[in-house]
């Protein structure tokens, strides 16, 4: 087996990043003349299986087991290791989801095979594929290659690195796998997932967003951003470093651990533009960035940029808007 895509699904629906990983597998496979298959782990998998069998994949492997009904690091590590040992795929592709981040390093450790994580692209090197990753908070890119003799590799792809709508349709054959999964003597006890009861803010439909980041410096400076958002009629949003000290609630966070937005205007104040933030806002039609650091990665995606302290720009912009 050449490429195996491990599917993630919730209540029958495939994770968007699984579709993106399939797009990556199809593109990678076409270039290197490799075939792709998908793997479904779970208990009630009919809906997800039907979605996968309608795609251009050689096979859909289905490992159905009651112990796989809910995700758990222990059982999913066991299950994937069993499948990889049996099927020996050269490449294992996944979306760089929270779940993948939770258990893939364990698969890598247990089998002694490399995990190239949060990959944004690949290209053919002289003797082996080269995988591209953003490093140093997006300030540099790195070319990662496999070394050693493992001959197998796990790759997780960053959100939106490949487009889900480029997945080719087709028809795939189902093959059922029987796994032996035993309960560990002292396993992890999981409680039901829940959402915090904080104020719910839906930023996904906002037309205009003023967003603040680490450059805000202190909670006292929030007023300046709020006034600008008010003068512009925009929603106020932020990046993670504003949520961590409690300056704004998590419900206003944009990025991989927050919301994904696609406004007409995203005005980024003091946001450096780490990959985790960019995935949440690069769908904005126009991006204006204000940042002290001329080399901040936010300027790589911005349409307009000002190299300055947001505290020098935002109050003046508010005044100028009010004067209109």
């Amino acid at each position: 087996m050449d490429i195996l895509v491990v599917a993630e699904h919730h209540q029958g629906e495939l994770h968007r990043m699984t579709m993106e990983a399939i797009a990556a597998a199809q593109a990678f496979g076409a270039e290197l003349n490799l075939g792709s298959a998908a793997l479904l782990l779970g208990d009630d998998v009919d809906t997800a299986r039907n979605t996968l069998t309608a795609l251009d994949l050689g096979e859909v492997l289905v490992a159905q087991h009651e112990r796989l009904r809910d995700y758990g690091s222990d059982t999913y590590t066991d299950a994937l290791c069993q499948v990889l040992e049996r099927e020996q795929p050269a490449w294992v592709f996944l979306g760089h989801t929270y779940q993948a981040r939770d258990f893939l390093p364990r698969v890598s450790g247990r089998l002694g095979i490399p995990l190239l994580s949060d990959i944004i692209a690949y290209r053919n090197g002289q003797d082996r594929p080269v995988f591209i990753k953003q490093v140093y908070n997006g300030r540099l890119s790195a070319e990662l290659v496999i070394t050693g003799s493992a001959g197998r590799c796990l790759v997780s792809f960053q959100a939106a690195a490949f487009a889900a709508d480029t997945v080719r349709a087709g028809s795939a054959v189902v093959r059922d796998l029987a796994l032996k999964l035993t309960a560990p003597a002292a396993g992890i006890q999981a409680e039901a997932p829940f959402q915090e009861t904080a104020e719910a803010v839906d930023l996904s439909g906002a037309d205009l967003i003023v967003s603040v980041g680490r450059g805000l410096g202190s909670e006292e400076n929030l007023g300046v951003a709020k006034e600008l958002a008010g003068a512009l009629g925009a929603e106020l949003a932020c990046s993670r470093p504003v949520v961590d000290p409690g300056w704004l609630p998590a419900s206003r966070q944009v990025g991989s651990s927050g919301q994904t937005v696609s406004p007409k205007l995203y005005l980024a104040l003091g946001i450096s533009g780490a990959a985790q933030h960019l995935v949440g806002m690069k769908g904005a039609k126009y991006i204006i960035a204000v940042n002290k650091d001329a080399e901040a990665p936010i300027f790589d995606v911005a349409d307009y940029g000002i190299v300055a302290d947001l505290m020098d720009i935002a109050p003046r912009l508010t005044e100028a808007l009010k004067a209109q």
């Binding site: 981040r101 540099l140 070394t147 493992a150 002292a186 680490r214 349409d303 190299v307």
Partner: protein, 260 residues
């Protein structure tokens, strides 16, 4: 209880990163280094666990890197860690999480750690694997993106962040390795007393080559400045001029001011 905390030193956010001629490193002359952000939350969580569990808890700060990481480990001791293990990366293993975790596993073997805490990912390479990999190599239970901890006797209850604003409590048997999410606590600064006490705390120095002779699984063959995805029009001038230009762009360029 014995808690090991991984502490990584990374370039600070302001330092310029100039790729060196070999294409695999950057010029360290102009770079200052600091503790990785999520690792600051990891050491703070260890200290808070010690406050809650009691003084018999020992915290070991653990780091891999060149000699300059001594400063980072010294800071961990000043914050309240009891001892440190500094491992010299004499094999340039830093770009392979499997190799790094294997070195840490060798260093911690026989130490009898009940908990390993690490930041969820580093601000340099951002692989996001080391703590979980280390847990696997040491035969520990693992949990990631931890946002709260409640220590028990043979287990620890942790609140993990899931996708899309969801959370989940897990009761994880000890020994366990937990990756810590930013925002779990408010990291403390070292006190004067802490800095004085740190001078008397031991830092054991080991080398990666002596601890692990295995084969690395991946490497970074080239670093480069990413190509710009977009043309950015930079707005120059004084803050007043820049603000005036922005209003013009909002009105006639982006056309979002018509409603005002």
């Amino acid at each position: 209880m014995r808690i090991a905390v991984l502490q990584k030193q990374v370039p600070d956010r302001e330092s310029p990163l100039r790729v060196s001629d070999d294409g695999r490193h950057f010029d360290e002359q102009q770079v200052s280094f600091e503790l990785n952000e999520s690792d600051a939350y990891a050491i703070e969580e260890a200290l808070q666990l010690k406050d809650r569990i009691g003084a018999e808890t020992e915290i070991i700060a653990l780091g891999l890197g060149p000699e300059r990481i001594e400063k980072t480990l010294h800071q961990a001791l000043a914050r309240g860690a009891d001892r440190a293990i500094r491992i010299l990366d004499d094999r340039e293993l830093a770009t392979d999480p499997f190799a790094v975790a294997s070195v840490f596993a060798a260093a911690l073997k026989g130490q009898g750690c009940d908990l390993v805490l690490s930041g969820l990912q580093s601000d340099d390479l951002g692989m996001g694997q080391t703590g979980i990999l280390l847990g696997e190599l040491l035969g520990m239970a693992t949990a990631s993106l931890v946002m709260a901890t409640e220590p028990g006797t043979a287990s620890i209850r942790v609140k993990c962040e899931l996708e899309g604003g969801w959370y989940q409590w897990l009761t994880v048997p000890l020994p366990a390795s937990l990756s810590i999410q930013t925002g779990i606590n408010q990291p403390r600064y070292p006190t004067i007393k802490g800095i004085m006490d740190a001078k008397r705390k031991p830092i054991e120095v080991l080398s990666a080559s002596a601890l692990w002779s295995g084969e690395p699984l991946q490497t970074c063959q080239r670093l480069y400045v990413p190509h710009k995805a977009k043309h950015t029009e930079m707005i120059e001038g004084t803050p007043d001029q820049a603000a005036a230009q922005l209003v013009g762009i909002l009105k006639t360029g982006i056309k979002v001011l018509y409603s005002l």
